[in-house]
Symmetry: C2
Subunit: 190 residues, 2 copies
């Protein structure tokens, strides 16, 4: 039976390599070399690179601190802002490289892999649902006007965030994140 | 001397293949096969795949109808809306596949190729400048409140559009575009 630790090494290495280079630029050999395991061991653990990508995406989703969105404190819009600040800080820390794994897998692979397409659709749907719940809470407590349907607004804000990442990676500076926080939190969500 | 038409065939084929499969999934051989020209002819025309990508991006930029943004009619915000409707229509016509070449090249290659990084930075900067000019015009004629700096708002809107594409490609439906038009044109740009 395969040792569990080899599987973990592969997932760790793939998380790093997919994030850094993208899905199509990473072959199985790059991943197993980076993991320090024989290429042949890969298929003891994953039927395909696609299956590994789904595992990497699930682990990435779990690291987004989305559980903080439904915490009791601070106030709803402050929780949302802090979550985006966490996400922004990560990308800023990478020098405006790497971006969001959901967005990257969508751009590179959602048109070509039904499994990855399902993965990103579900990933974005879960995230958008969590953001919509925060917005509804803010609408209930009166800190957010009920001008917009919370689901539509949540979809717009999540997408605007993904686009701010594209802008940040293109310009390699913080102007797109600054514009996002200013327009979303000082104007749209008021 | 190389025939100009071979160069055009290569650019045509690369425009299609890069858009469909992405930059990293397209090798030179896929492009020359698709163009129906010998692989060896590629390097008579382009020093590298990277140089070809810059040519493809320039051609893509020229096809975005950005010149309509600075036309005399219709009114500024209507011009902006129509341009985004054109962009949305193209992606909708592809079944929510392919996306925006600027965004795709940013996600796949801007971290790894200085030349492509420069290309996407300039592409987004030119586009954002054109959108900012429209917004300033709308602020001048009173159809848009002067609440936000036009440059910041333009950067936000262009990024929000890029993110709406990510959302559309993930969900493979029109909900992200609908949310974009609703929030941007019925609320933010009023």
């Amino acid at each position: 039976m395969a040792r569990p630790s080899v599987r973990e090494q592969i997932v760790d290495a793939a998380s790093e390599q997919f994030h850094r280079h993208g899905y199509n630029a990473c072959g199985v050999k790059l991943i197993t070399d980076s993991a320090g395991v024989p290429k042949g061991s890969f298929y003891n653990h994953f039927p395909s690179k696609e299956d590994l990508a789904l595992e990497v995406m699930a682990r990435y989703a779990a690291s987004r601190r989305f559980e903080e969105l439904s915490a009791a404190t601070p106030a709803p819009l402050e929780r949302l802002r802090r979550n985006f600040e966490f996400l922004a800080g990560e990308i800023t820390g990478y020098g405006y490289e790497r971006g969001c794994m959901f967005g990257n897998f969508t751009t590179e692979a959602a048109d070509h892999s039904a499994a990855i397409g399902d993965g990103v659709r579900q990933g974005f749907a879960d995230w958008t649902t969590a953001v919509a719940a925060v917005l509804r809470e803010a609408q209930s407590d009166g800190t957010l006007a009920a001008t917009h349907d919370a689901d539509v607004l949540a979809l717009f804000v999540v997408n605007a965030w993904e686009g701010a990442i594209v802008g940040a990676r293109a310009a390699k500076d913080g102007s797109s994140f600054a514009a996002f926080f200013h327009v979303v939190f000082d104007s749209l969500l008021t």
